[in-house]
Amino acid sequence: MNKKKNDGSGRTGWNRFIYNNNTVGYVFLAPFVIGFLCFTIIPMISSLYYSCTDYNMIDKETWIGINNYINLFKDERFLNSIKVTLEYVFFSVPLKLAFALFIAFLLTRPSKAVSFYRSLYYLPSLIGGSVAVALVWKELFARKGLINVNLGKLGIDAVNWFGNMTTAKWPIILMTVWQFGSSMLIFAAGLKEIPSSYYEAAKIDGANGWQSFWKITMPCLSPIILFNLIMQLISSFMVFTQAFVITGGGPNDATMYYALYVYKQGINNRNMGYASAMSWVMLVIMSVITLIVFKTSNHWVFNESES
């Protein structure tokens, strides 16, 4: 309760301070400011320093200038890790979003069963990031695993999924697409907010389901597609656990994603200077990609205030 009016004159100055919008704002914001400084800014700045050293967490580091960065661009394993990560993102994100939108759209029917179905489809997202599911996946796609045995029954030759450089990525991509639940929920929330009068008007004008999907649903949903796209891009670039558990980066670095390689260099080999440089290169790559998506979004994201 605000006791401003009842207090003696000596406390009004304090009250004015404590109930001032700026004070209130920063009191509530304080956790973020502190966390941002301690867990983002200070680590990032200090890693920028370490990226110019040969720090290995044991000996005192020596300054080696931009040598780490030069070596990075000569390091074929690093360049390969960027390549396979981009490839993974390129396949998994659009497939996941398309699937999420498809299911979200199917589940807009008013039916009592829909909320049950929605939980069913959300289940993979709930547990998909766990080690347990990664281990299941590893067994399903093993050489003599369930998938191969049943492909065999259909007369298709067994595929050595994780033993082959071209096929190793597919089970991991499939696993990512399988976890489409969070995007689906966000799409579902967006679909719910499109006024049904839009569809009714279109129906009166003689539009079929397909036309109203492209002319009403997609434009109204485009800001949400952008949001999901950005969030999925970022989480795809971080792919780690699945590859770490299932393939360990193999065969022959075919699934040695960026995060896995950073882990190998930094934590396993204790090349902290080198790993710091890698973090900064990744930051630049991510920023450029995010910026490109935002810039191009002007062309395809429908803005209600402009129309």
Partner: protein
């Protein structure tokens, strides 16, 4: 016309249910695998009914590794996840309130910084943070897995801000006229109304944290402080042949807390996600 509608409804339900079954099949296969032995698991049979119900897998799996049982792993996971989730919910709601309801100097700047942090992939800060935690001797303790959550998570801050746009500002104003301060507007008006969004945060943060493997692997040194996710991976790392039955038994148990939270709060999940503020 009516007949056609019935047919299309039936086809719709068959399609959705069949696809749903395919989606959850890997999970069901794991659960049934927890009651099978190695030969039965590797037979490639699609059947989900175990030929014999081998409950001993659970007892064998629970024994864990070395002298550390799954009782310890579960205790560690529950402690870390509970504190981290609690921290996220409380701090994120405070920050979201500041950014969406209080007009203070620098609000735009801090909002931009918050979004920027949200767009920063965790793996980019992995090594930088590891170095800092190493410097302050937190590596080898659960602190890096808990403490940062008390300083807000941008994704949830943003989600709560979206939700707050659907709470009418008139409510704040009415409360102020009734003598509430900006502080009590939060505790008496906004926080209670934020419930669906808080629950979504609890569900999502809980399973993110529970499933997390990278964090515990980086920071937990002693086997007695391992979490369930680390322990489940140990089954696959065993130098001798993998015991699939106990591995799947413990994998199945490891999912129960996540399922429980989800089932209890499920009906709030969709309500808690508001996209109204995403529109330009």
């Amino acid at each position: 016309m009516k007949g056609r509608k019935v047919v299309s409804t039936v086809i719709y339900h068959i399609f959705i249910a069949a696809l749903g079954l395919v989606m959850v099949y890997p999970v069901l296969w794991m659960v049934s695998g927890s009651l099978k032995n190695n030969a039965e698991i590797l037979s490639g049979s699609l059947s989900l009914i175990p030929p014999a119900w081998r409950w001993e897998n659970f007892a064998q799996g629970w024994r864990g590794f070395g002298h550390v049982t799954f009782t310890t792993y579960f205790k560690n996971s529950i402690l870390i996840t509970t504190f981290a989730t609690l921290g996220t919910v409380i701090s994120s709601s405070l920050i979201a309130y500041a950014l969406s309801r209080v007009k203070f100097a620098g609000r735009k700047l801090w909002f931009t910084i918050m979004i920027g942090t949200m767009l920063l992939p965790g793996q980019v800060v992995m090594i930088p943070q590891y170095l800092i935690y190493n410097r302050i001797h937190w590596v080898g303790t659960p602190l890096p897995l808990i403490v940062p959550h008390f300083f807000g998570a941008p994704f949830f801050i943003y989600m709560m801000m979206q939700f707050m746009t659907s709470i009418p500002r008139e409510l704040d104003e009415a409360a102020i006229i009734d003598g509430c301060s900006k502080y009590s507007v939060f505790s008496r008006v906004i926080f209670p109304l934020l419930k669906p969004s808080l629950i979504s945060t609890i569900i999502i943060q809980f399973y993110w944290k529970w499933d997390d493997y990278m964090g515990p692997m980086l920071y937990l040194g002693k086997p007695t402080s391992y979490t369930v996710s680390i322990a489940v991976k140990l089954f696959a790392d065993a130098t001798s042949k993998t015991d699939y039955g106990p591995m799947f038994a413990m994998s199945t148990l490891s999912m129960i807390p996540v399922f429980t939270i989800f089932l209890v709060f499920n009906r709030y999940l969709v309500d808690g996600i508001s996209t109204s503020g995403l529109k330009g």
